[in-house]
Amino acid sequence: MQESNRALMIKVWIGLLVLTGIEVVLAYVQLGQGLTLTLLMGFSLVKAWMIIGYFMHLKFDRPALAWMLLPPFIACIVAMLAYLLPDGFRAGGA
């Protein structure tokens, strides 16, 4: 592996660990379910792209591949949030 590429992958790995660390802190400080959920899903989407784009190389493949593969993921995440967000923000949801 080229040294620059190896350094990039280590940076991505450190980034993933840092984001995971922030997520764990969020679970500890308990900002309220709605805000926590929103932040967690935001971080998870960033982490997902770091894994898909860099580790799985999709960022460096032909864009047509990403256009073919990613739409169902996005549809699923939207469907999931349609249920999760009402849970997070419902009255009394601590």
């Binding site: 592996m1 997520e23 679970a27 500890y28 894994i51 799985m56 190389h57 591949l65 995440i77 469907a79």
Partner: protein, 204 residues
């Protein structure tokens, strides 16, 4: 008009997406597998809305323990990246070493996860009931983390077969890359399971 002029990149024996057929096949499988997990997570999120959902995980040791599992799985993705890179530069021995290391990370994840399961089962959590109300808690927990753990176990076997064969001169660099896609996907799924199943269920 000649055949040459008529043919487009979609007419066969061409490579319109710029990836090999094995890699494309694995990607398509992973999309369908992602939909399987998404279905389970969508059901899980519906159950959370429809029930008073318990929040049984103590921050310590529960969340600390599952954070350690996350660290192990993320690190095994990095060793996989190095394995794929070594495979592409033709360093078979080095690639095999990285693949074995990745398999070891996967094995450690499974061992930690089973320890956690064992702990929860001793607390009385089963797929049908648990001490905290909302019986579906156990059903979704064991189904989602169990399906994920099944993927990790299959991945470890896959890695072991590949590492042994690749080190001995069998398989090619694309085979290693395809295995890498699978392994990173297992990691990717955990990036949603961990916050949704664990971090949202921390006891206040």
């Amino acid at each position: 008009m000649t055949m040459q002029a008529q043919s487009t990149s979609w007419s066969g024996w061409a490579n319109p997406l710029g990836v090999g057929r094995k890699k494309l096949g694995m990607w398509l499988f992973l999309v369908s597998d992602a939909l399987t997990f998404a279905t389970l997570l969508i059901c899980y999120s519906y159950f959370r809305v429809a029930n008073e959902w318990p929040k049984p995980f103590e921050f310590s040791p529960g969340i600390v323990f599952s954070s350690l599992m996350t660290l192990v799985l993320l690190s095994s993705s990095l060793t996989m990246v190095f394995g794929v890179a070594a495979g592409h530069s033709g360093e078979r021995k080095a690639a095999a070493k990285w693949l074995w290391l990745t398999a070891l990370g996967g094995g450690a994840f499974v061992a930690l996860h089973l320890t956690e399961w064992n702990h929860l089962i001793h607390e009385g959590v089963t797929p049908f009931s648990n001490p905290w109300g909302a019986p579906l808690f156990g059903a979704t927990f064991f189904l989602i983390t169990g399906l994920h753990m099944t993927h990790v176990v299959i991945g470890v076997v896959y890695l072991a077969i590949l590492a042994a064969g690749f080190g001995a001169g069998k398989f090619d660099a694309e085979d290693v890359e395809v295995c890498g896609l699978y392994w990173h996907f297992v990691d990717l799924v955990w990036m949603f399971v961990f916050p949704l199943v664990y971090l949202l269920s921390v006891s206040a």
